[in-house]
């Protein structure tokens, strides 16, 4: 079985079988991290370009490590040092990069749809590493992998996603991912951070975090994305934190052994208390480790596609 598309643009377009293929491949690749020599030759001679028009630490590093562990050559490109600062348009930049014939382009941009536009313009495989508030598929896949490892299943799990839902591409990709795999997804946040009609994606929406967390197997806390909001969405950080911060008291409402996740970067004691972020139920660092395995699987499956 192979991935159908040459690109990975979002979870919305993946089938359940494709998601399972990526997760199973990632689980098998995991073993490479425990070796002394953490490198296999399978993508030797392939080129991966990291095209980041928006800041990133975790995702860019993770894609780069993943590519290097598979022996691909990696090139990093960030907006600040590029021709975009010489007023070249995005389309011209994309055409130039495409003309250098890389095998995979990993792209992040603050405008939703950029990876899709790029995928129509180049022959390379395009991987969406986050586009605006649209999707962040590799993050959702690593979240799915982490839950699969911890819970062993998706069917019937209750997943609560709490915070800045409107601005969060992580939330959107995870809503698609977890509902496709058979889990029940609830989202919660202040009314100003809940997009209208979010229920149409197949989740339930709450403004009270306590209701969303009751009996949850998985709790995913999100950062408030100040940089994506132009207007004031709540009176103060302190008030937000008082109402929505994940504290031991709120965690008590969830199932025993609930898994606590956060895509990072975390704002301690705003959306999650330090006690919980560093506590025994937190899998935040395991998410990061799984991120490398999932991205290796994505690169292997895309760059390894038979070239016609």
């Amino acid at each position: 079985m192979r991935l159908v598309s040459k690109d990975l643009l979002g979870i919305e377009k993946l089938t359940r079988e494709e998601i399972e293929l990526i997760l199973e491949t990632a689980q098998k690749l995991h073993e490479i991290h425990s070796r002394d020599i953490k490198k296999v030759p399978t993508l030797r001679g392939k080129t991966v370009v990291n095209l980041f028009f928006e800041g990133s630490t975790r995702t860019r590093t993770s894609f780069e490590i993943a590519a290097k562990r598979l022996s691909a050559d990696t090139i990093n490109f960030s907006a600040s040092s590029s021709s975009l600062s010489k007023s070249e348009t995005l389309i011209d930049t994309a055409r130039s990069i495409g003309a250098m014939l890389p095998d995979v382009i990993v792209v992040r941009h603050n405008q939703a749809g950029t990876p899709e536009m790029l995928s129509r313009m180049v022959k390379s495989s395009v991987v969406n590493a986050g586009d605006g508030a649209h999707e962040h598929p590799s993050q959702a896949l690593l979240d799915l992998l982490t839950v699969k490892e911890k819970k062993g299943r998706f069917e019937g799990l209750k997943v609560a996603i709490v915070g800045d839902i409107a601005a969060s591409r992580v939330a959107r990709s995870n809503i698609y991912g977890f509902t496709k795999m058979g889990a029940e997804v609830r989202v919660a946040g202040p009314p100003t951070m809940l997009p209208p009609h979010i229920e149409q994606l197949g989740c339930k929406a709450y403004t009270n975090v306590r209701e969303a967390v009751v009996d949850a197997d998985v709790i995913m806390m999100l950062r408030i994305q100040m940089e994506r909001h132009s207007k004031l969405l709540f009176p103060s950080i302190r008030e937000y934190s008082r109402l929505y911060c994940l504290t031991p008291e709120i965690l008590d409402l969830a199932k025993e052994n609930a898994v606590i996740m956060h895509p990072g970067p975390i704002n301690r004691d705003v959306e999650i208390s330090s006690e919980i972020a560093d506590g025994p139920y937190s899998v935040i660092l395991e998410q990061v480790t799984n991120g490398v395995a999932v991205r290796m699987a994505i690169l292997y499956l895309l760059a390894g596609q038979r070239s016609n």
């Binding site: 293929l21 491949t25 073993e31 020599i37 490198k39 030759p41 399978t42 598979l70 390894g304 038979r306």
Partner: protein, 194 residues
């Protein structure tokens, strides 16, 4: 030959090893390994999935029967070391390697069901050295069907089988004492498969 043994899979082909013959061949390989090893304490078996894994388990059991020594058995997946990823594409038949021991200074025996072009063995040699530097590497296979494309030789072999390049050789190991056989089917095989 009974109808069942001439076509156990129901899709044509001739049986070149039946259950008892496979059993004898594996036992003989186990004896040869014990005879030709000065110290079994340095020996490790590395099975190449998928076909090498059941063979490796049986070899380990028979070596224990003959010598009383439990030789460590690991699993070495070679999917990521193949030389045809660029042309044949990614494979979803990958499995994780499992090597719960250090192979440095050990005498490694690679175990696979069928030896054909030698390309799998070449990939396995690359994979082994990523895990450590063994003292020596040898190769044990149930069936050597010829048509080598690389300078690779076998050290322990169950049966040499003359085949045409395009033939398809299939090894079916029994699970829980069921029917097992090695089958050669004419003509339809993928000439690239090793």
């Amino acid at each position: 030959m009974s109808e069942q043994s001439s076509d156990p899979a129901g899709n044509g082909g001739r049986v070149i090893l039946d259950g008892p013959a496979i059993e004898r061949a594996i036992r003989r390989i186990a004896h040869e390994i014990v005879e030709r090893s000065e110290s079994l304490g340095e020996l490790v078996l590395l099975a190449i999935p998928a076909g090498g894994v059941p063979l490796g388990k049986r070899l380990q059991a028979y070596i224990r029967e003959v010598s009383g020594v439990e030789v460590p058995l690991g699993k070495l997946d070679i999917t990521l070391y193949r030389d045809d990823v660029a042309t044949a594409g990614a494979s979803s038949n990958m499995s994780a390697s499992h090597m719960p021991f250090d192979i440095t200074d050990k005498r490694v025996i690679l175990v696979d069901d069928v030896l054909f072009t030698g390309r799998t063995t070449r990939a396995a040699l690359d994979a082994v050295v990523d895990f450590g530097r063994p003292r020596s590497i040898q190769l044990a296979v149930l069936v050597d069907r010829g048509h080598r494309e690389l300078p690779i030789k076998v050290d322990f072999v169950g049966k040499n089988v003359p085949t045409a390049r395009r033939d398809d050789v299939r090894v079916e190991f029994s699970q829980d004492g069921g029917n097992e056989f090695v089958l050669v089917r004419e003509g339809e095989g993928d000439p690239c498969a090793s």
